[in-house]
């Protein structure tokens, strides 16, 4: 990092006299010097170029192309429509109850997953930050769900939450909720299906976030805690008054990350549906997320233009929500901004 920053400053100093007229110094530069200059000035850009290239090909281009498609009539089953649609796809979006339903579901599941997920991750991390027996075992253990392939775990959860022979109902039955005669149908309404899907998301991501928090926590000096303990602060108070403010950048990072992930939720709701092929997210769209709706509109209704418009709307929504969340988190976790 420091070399890349130094390079332009250095070159400016050299270029300034050079611009007045080619001095004798310039001519005396042999190939070694030139190579050195090339190395200093351009090599860093060349080295990071592959990333940007891939980003252009697989990130920027699809984004822009998507924008173009969203202004088109792009129906696979009806090529007779006029080429350009103008903003028709976007105006249609505003009155589409499926879209608003999907948005509502997405936010519902997002709140049910992100908030408990990050709070629990914080608690888990602070537990792991103590002196424990078999420390590495615990730390690797909490990361295991993250390593599990998402399709595999979603399918297992899908069976776990099934109505007739599901383990979730069996466990709840032990505590007196639901009975074999009137089992909970996890796919019949919004609260149940949202809870089930949020559980899948939480299970997968708590460990990952906890590990990020743990890494940040280990850079907090011990004496801060010791001083607080002497002043009479308990573990809970220490967590909220010392740990959280001091790992605030990581918290903001995880909040942004889980916002993006939460609003793009696809695999879990998709595989939760017994009739996954239809991508309707339940018989009445109970848990259809926006990503799922985009897939349905594009590849089931074969309306790629409208699906592209939805993708763009989702992109803008994520930008706004991630921005708001960053601000909120900064405030809540004691940042100065």
């Amino acid at each position: 990092m420091s070399t890349t920053r130094a390079a332009p400053a250095q070159s400016r100093r050299r270029a300034a006299p050079g611009r007045g007229g080619s001095g004798p110094d310039e001519r005396r530069l042999n190939w070694r010097n030139r190579l050195y200059r090339f190395d200093m000035r351009y090599m860093p850009y060349l080295m990071i170029a592959p990333f940007f290239l891939l980003f252009i090909v697989f990130g920027l281009f699809p984004l822009v192309f998507n924008g173009v498609v969203s202004l088109r009539n792009y129906r696979l089953d009806d090529p007779t429509l006029p080429y350009w649609a103008g903003f028709e796809n976007f105006t249609r979006l505003a009155g589409d109850e499926d879209f608003w339903n999907a948005l509502y579901n997405t936010f519902g599941i997002f709140l049910l997953s992100s908030v408990p997920q990050l709070l629990l991750a914080l608690v888990v991390a602070s537990l792991l930050n103590r002196k424990l027996r078999a420390q590495t075992w615990w730390r690797v253990g909490i990361l295991l769900p993250y390593v599990t392939p998402i399709v595999a775990s979603s399918m297992v959860f899908s069976v776990f939450f099934s109505r007739d022979f599901g383990m979730a109902n069996w466990v709840l039955g032990l505590f007196g909720y639901g009975s074999p005669e009137a089992p909970i149908d996890w796919r019949a309404d919004k609260p149940h299906s949202w809870t089930a899907i949020a559980t899948m998301v939480n299970w997968k991501w708590i460990g990952y976030n906890a590990l990020l928090y743990l890494a940040a926590m280990q850079s907090i000096p011990r004496d801060v805690y010791e001083a607080a303990a002497i002043d009479g602060a308990g573990p809970w108070k220490q967590l909220w008054k010392i740990t959280v403010p001091m790992i605030q950048p990581v918290i903001v990072f995880t909040v942004v990350l889980s916002t993006i992930g939460g609003l793009q939720l696809f695999t879990e709701p998709m595989l939760f549906d017994p009739n996954a092929q239809a991508a309707t997210g339940g018989p009445n769209g109970e848990w259809q997320t926006i990503a799922q709706l985009i897939y349905k509109v594009g590849w089931k209704d074969l309306n790629l233009g409208y699906a592209a418009a939805m993708s763009w709307a989702l992109f803008l929504i994520i930008l706004v929500v991630a921005g708001v969340n960053t601000l909120l988190t900064n405030r809540l976790s004691g940042g100065r901004k």
Binding site: A49, L76, A278
Partner: protein, 425 residues
Amino acid sequence: MKRSWTHWARAAAAGAVSLLMVAACSGRSTTDDASGGVVTLKINFWGDFGLQELKTRYEAANPNIRIQLNSGEYNAQHEDLQKKLVAGSGAADIAAVDEGFMVQFRGQSDKFVNLLDKGAGSYESKYLPWKWKQSLSADGKTQIGLGTDVGGLAMCYRTDLFKAAGLPTERDQVSALWPTWDKFIEVGQQYTAKTDKKFIDAGTNLFNPILGQQPVGFYNDQEQLQMEQGPKVAFDYTVKAVQAGLSANLVSFQADWDKGFTSGAFAVLACPAWMLGHIKDTAPGTEGKWDIAAVPGGGGNWGGSFLTIPKQGKHVDEAYELLEWLVQPEQQIEIFKKVGNLPSQPALYADPAIAEFKNPFFNDAPVGQIFPKMAQGLTPQYLGRKNGPTRVAVENVIRRVENKTLKPDAAWAEAVKEAEKAGKS
């Protein structure tokens, strides 16, 4: 200010250079395989189409042809074909398409080779009329695929559960119990009253066969939604059965449904020829407890495939020759013997290999007689462009009635509303 600008310019220049480098590397590297005189034909399909030995035989007879069999997952293969059609290249030379996806691809008939141009018109009389019509474009001028197998449709029932409920167990007597769907529901009510168990697996698996028997489905051939005719008949029967508590409210191919085969969660289900293998695999312990009776209403089909030739292929002529060879009677019988796929050409049903075939798992039911009869009893029905989404929408309404989030008397209005929405999607 200036400094940051040159900064950007430099970054952009570096990016442009590397972009060129990548572009230089990614030039056309595909060599035309026709140069050596050998043409490779790729066939995309799912599961087992019984092509392995036919491939060897065809290659031996045609030394300039190599066949590449590419079996994948059912949904993935169709989605892959759709994406390659949009992209304009990369599709297989011969792509199998299932009945359930046929409407979608038939609507894009300009992307497929019109087999009528290749002389496939002479096969029309050999096929089941509805099978031929399924892959024909709306204007009747483009035929995008030739049929391979059909599912037919019969009712698989558990003889032990029927016996316990005091119902007859002999397949002819059972068929005689339900000549119509009204009778079928009556039998179901007797069964549930006696045993306090569910009779059928799902309302949707009642709705679809009944709808398939109607002269007009969701859409007429003018592409207008016709909810008050065929769909209304099928929907009323379905809701009646659900209200009477006959349905176990399961969803096909889901874990609970699979368990239902062994646990006796339902006593009867509509089953096409290919379902027999599924029952045998999911519930091997129920061997001998199943038998097969006729479908009420006298005809039906569920599933079956076609072979199509995407226009973008480089060797469409060779592909058509292979396709034509594959649908010939000898090959179709060969496939039936190998994997049990029932051909869609009625003349073949008289072949002893099919006519005398019995299935030991299902009490030696003469499946070679039952399924062809059901497949032939079906009248061709026009499937509209929006048939797939509309069917999903109405099925979802049925599922809502089943899980009691929708009142049965409000269901029909809701079904019409959802179907209209799906039609406009």
